[in-house]
Chain length 334, copies 2
Amino acid sequence: MLKVRKPYLVFLGDVALRSDAKTGFGLRDWCGNDVIGEWALPEAQVSLELPRMTPPQAAAAGAGSLVIGVAPPGGQLPEAWIPTLRLALESGLDVVSGMHTRLEQFPDLVQAAKRGGTRLVNVRHTERAMPVGTGRRRSGKRLLTVGTDCALGKKYTALAITRELSARGIAATFRATGQTGILISGEGIAVDAVVADFVAGTAELLSPDNAPDHWDVIEGQGALFHPAYAGVTLGLLHGSQPDAIVLCHDPARSTIEDHPHISLPTLGEAIRRYLEAGRLTNPEVCCVGVAINSSSLSDQDWGRYREALQAELDLPVCDPLRGGVATIIDLLQT
Amino acid sequence: MLKVRKPYLVFLGDVALRSDAKTGFGLRDWCGNDVIGEWALPEAQVSLELPRMTPPQAAAAGAGSLVIGVAPPGGQLPEAWIPTLRLALESGLDVVSGMHTRLEQFPDLVQAAKRGGTRLVNVRHTERAMPVGTGRRRSGKRLLTVGTDCALGKKYTALAITRELSARGIAATFRATGQTGILISGEGIAVDAVVADFVAGTAELLSPDNAPDHWDVIEGQGALFHPAYAGVTLGLLHGSQPDAIVLCHDPARSTIEDHPHISLPTLGEAIRRYLEAGRLTNPEVCCVGVAINSSSLSDQDWGRYREALQAELDLPVCDPLRGGVATIIDLLQT
């Protein structure tokens, strides 16, 4: 398994949308002790509110890697970022990328890494061959976070659930499926970077047989309702064969982000569709709660929203960042 | 999109079993005008009953490529085939392979291609970067074949529908998504070999904007009900945004092939699930027929089965190899 040199300087490029910087926010919130600062191009409109440091300043302060903390759609590395990455490599920092574009495709970066004695690290790429899915049931318990859309809290929710299970003395492992999760947890496989035929098989590999009472809490990807990524979501669902799903949603959205012509389903409909698909590999799959990203709601509105939704769905509704996920774990323990 | 140079010389290696030469037979049956001959090693026990030509004879007769028309034992290219492939490359023929093994792994072939000014073409691999799906509606009409399982006639059905549309003077293009289909049509993309994030985007690329009355007939892959490949199927469905689907089924199967613990859905349920998923990118998607691989049924049983199913589903039911697909095209034209 790949080792990433901590601590990190997080680079935000020229990011315009908060949701595109979810890697950066994830690192700040879930391994904050390992992040010593942030850096961005002048055009950037998002900040992690961490100390701003140039790559040489971060290197002098002890950083091991510059981590690209922004995931633009399609994962292509913009040319405008190259000078900053070159500077980091020459200053003694590894450059760590979770994007589809391999850093080695840029001769400038390869040469800068040679000059700096540093490394180009592609978290999204895996060299090992992945297996085809078998559909075989595995021992142990599994929970998968799923969503009405991308980028609305599936990783956060899985991390919060893992934390809460551990706090209650229940054996649990967070299983990372995306670059940020891998950077946070130190292991995992970026399932969306696997050749399409092997997504379900990769998910099977990610949560192998385990003790009967152990919970694997698997970070979901994409959404069944996303016109580009639903296939990854479905393969991950089938390979994970979860006993429990938690649906993640952001009430500020009524359409798929960047696809205003595609409406989100209702939450009840979304749960129905995920369970229908999930039954293929685990006929007992059930939904144990809804995790809301309520950042757009006032305290009063959030309270009203939550109560109405709980009554409608007859399920625990929570915001991992606003009150935690205890009610979901309560249901899981019954 | 990958383009293959026609016409073909089909190479059968040292094949012993007819079933191992199904690529060769598929080429003969579906693009016979593009196949000018066959060649094999003296040990071969199967023939396509086409004119036998050495690679230099085929090149002199105008062939563009030698196509490997046989699945080698273990999926690996046997050393014994190399001299023939080298001769083809030096005679002016591209060598085209649908195997997992890349032809570039053989230095002899790389050098022969250089000497001959010819190409090594790995149909199963794609070098170009694929785009992320957009969900944008495209002009022209699209039909996608889907299945209750893998390997039960989705390619044959799509080819038969394309032929029937053309025979009626309706503009139609077969869009290949697997290696045999690509060899038949001379172009296409093996969607299951694409990185998972780009399956829908690849499918969008495969059937671009077209004339309003033009039909793209897209070869389906996998099945929504397959524990390993459903993700590929869903991405292909979303990116294809079909106006019409045709469900393919083999009545001899009650479970997913090689997965006896997973039952097939009923045909009505399968259609409902495909339409439900397909509406995401084309709200008007409808099912225009069912294509049955009836090889396990007697004439009498097939007649009974077909009539019962037609009554149950209120849709045309046909076997492309036993009476053709005319009833489906009739419905498409209404």
